[in-house]
């Protein structure tokens, strides 16, 4: 029981991060109908930006943790959004209006480019940072096992809940959110009503990148190490989360992220930890076979 509770906490933490990344996949798919395979690498870049920012702070002798975290978050969100913007501008926008496959191939190319450029500039080895948030609260002292929620886990879960609420509010209630949804439903019509579609798409990429940046900072704080390859696995798992929830659906991405995180934690705890990635990809296959529209998605209807 105590062990299961601990797995629940770990799973929620992991799920929150997958959810943050999954939103980027689902929003981009919603608006331009492509899977942005470079999104996982955008997340990886954000983690490296976080490491750099933490290093600068350490050199400047900043010791206040809230101050440091705020600074790193802002820096990482800013630069990662710029990456998101640049990726769309250079790799996808020139291909708009061409075949469906072209941007997909371009996305894979962009993914490889980002991985390799980080590998070249930052080195191929794992980069550690000094522990930022250690310790936590002991929730339950069961015989032989202690259930604990770490400060970093709390930070991740609370930040994610706040961000996702704010994000949902923005998409459902603000004029920008309305324009974003309008572009998802009918881009041509949105333009005919005066919406700058290209700009809306750019903002969508930047928002997705910003959320991935938060996940990147969180991962850095939580695990304390990053390397140039983390984007691949995290990206594919977040993509699975988006598909599981129903690609194109925002609540679906959040739910899918949570489920993938929990499944992975419990699988690793009770079945085979070495095969935890298999669990995720097994789910991806099952969803694609049994319910391709996902849990909360709409069945794909070809637009004429």
């Amino acid at each position: 029981m105590a062990y299961a509770l601990q797995q629940l906490i770990n799973g929620l933490t992991l799920g929150a991060m997958y959810g943050l990344i999954a939103i980027g996949y689902t929003m981009v798919y919603g608006i331009i109908g492509m899977i942005n395979f470079a999104h996982g690498d955008i997340f990886m870049v954000s983690a490296f930006i976080a490491v750099t920012a933490f290093t600068i702070l350490a050199a400047a002798d900043v010791t206040s943790i809230p101050l440091a975290l705020t600074f790193v978050l802002i820096v990482s969100i800013f630069f990662t959004s710029a990456y998101g913007w640049a990726v769309e501008r250079t790799a996808y926008r020139p291909l708009r209006g061409s075949t469906r496959l072209a941007p997909l191939i371009s996305a894979i190319g962009m993914s490889i480019f980002l991985q390799n450029s980080v590998q070249l500039t930052q080195g191929a080895r794992v980069k550690p940072i000094p522990p930022v948030l250690e310790g936590g609260i002991v929730l339950w002292e069961a015989p032989g096992f202690t259930v604990q929620i770490g400060w970093s886990q709390m930070l991740i879960i609370v930040t994610t809940v706040i961000l996702m609420s704010a994000f949902t509010w923005m998409i459902t209630q603000t004029p920008f959110g309305r324009q974003q949804r309008a572009c998802e439903q009918d881009r041509t019509m949105a333009a005919l009503l005066g919406v700058n579609v290209d700009r809306t798409i750019s903002y969508t990429f930047m928002l997705g990148a910003a959320l991935a940046a938060v996940a990147g900072v969180m991962v850095t704080v939580y695990y304390g190490v990053v390397d140039f390859f983390i984007g691949f696995l995290a990206g594919i798992k977040a993509f699975t989360a988006a598909v599981l929830g129903g690609i194109g659906s925002l609540p679906g991405a959040m739910l899918g992220g949570l489920l993938i995180g929990l499944i992975e934690s419990f699988w690793a705890a009770y079945l085979w930890a070495e095969y935890k990635d298999v669990a995720t990809f097994g789910i991806l296959c099952l969803v694609l076979m049994l319910r391709p529209s996902g849990l909360l998605g709409r069945p794909e209807v070809e637009k004429v």
């Binding site: 004029p175 309305r178 439903q185 019509m189 333009a191 009503l193 005066g194 579609v197």
Partner: protein
């Protein structure tokens, strides 16, 4: 002069859809464009928005050349379209659809404009919180018209507004077209299959055939013209 198209050519892929179109719309006029399916009526409307862009010729709106202007910028200059097939946003509520019409409007006018649209189409007020995709075809058409009016356009384009609607809605829509023009001085360019009705409300009309204007005149002249009668009025469309 509200709108002037001079020798406009446009292509859809390999199809040469418009072949040298000259059309004029004066301020305060209702001008109608009639023609068979595939004659290029909708393409003409869309080409005003630069989608597709004119490959030759010039489009002047309200004194400015808009031939090379982006679609959304053209909308912002004061042209609103009620497109063929309505193209409301089905997964948004009725009120959100109307708000989409205000993407470039002055927020200070929002309350007054909403009230005006609701007065024109009371059913929209009743259904304002409902998803637009659940409305009937006629209601969706009213929503599309209401959405176009929310930005207070100088020129209103209506593309087949009566297509596929029950007679009661068709009457309502032609009545609205007249009212908008008479009471609000709205300039209207109307594309219709229902040539008879369209020519009756219009000050002037153009006949479009295979991407070319083959006939032009006042509504009454075209109604009386033997070619128009044979092709569009007695051939089953009316």
């Amino acid at each position: 002069m509200m709108l002037k198209m001079e020798g406009v050519h446009a292509h859809y892929g390999h199809i040469h859809a418009l072949r040298g179109i000259d059309v004029e719309v004066q301020v305060g006029e209702i001008v109608t464009l009639i023609g068979a399916n595939g004659a290029g009526k909708s393409t003409l409307m869309m080409s005003l928005f630069g989608n597709p862009k004119a490959s030759a010729g010039r489009i002047v709106f309200d004194g400015e050349d808009i031939t090379r202007v982006h679609t959304h910028e053209i909308a912002r200059r004061g042209i609103a379209l009620v497109p063929e097939g309505r193209r409301i946003f089905p997964r948004m509520t009725v009120i959100e659809n109307l708000q989409m019409g205000t993407a470039h409007a002055d927020p200070a006018n929002y309350a007054a404009d909403t009230a005006r649209v609701f007065a024109m189409f009371p059913i929209l007020q009743e259904r304002q919180a409902q998803r637009a995709g659940t409305l009937s075809g006629g209601e969706q058409q009213m929503l599309a018209i209401g959405r176009a009016l929310m930005s207070r356009p100088k020129l209103l384009l209506l593309d087949e507004p009566s297509l596929g609607l029950a007679p009661i809605y068709i009457r309502k829509i032609f009545q609205i077209v007249r009212e908008l023009n008479r009471d609000h001085g709205m300039t209207i360019l109307l594309v219709e299959q229902n040539a008879n009705q369209a020519l009756r409300v219009a000050d002037r009309g153009y006949v479009l055939q295979h991407g070319e204007i083959t006939l032009a005149g006042t509504g009454a002249e075209l109604l009386a013209s033997p070619e128009v009668r044979a092709a569009y009025l007695e051939g089953g469309h009316a």
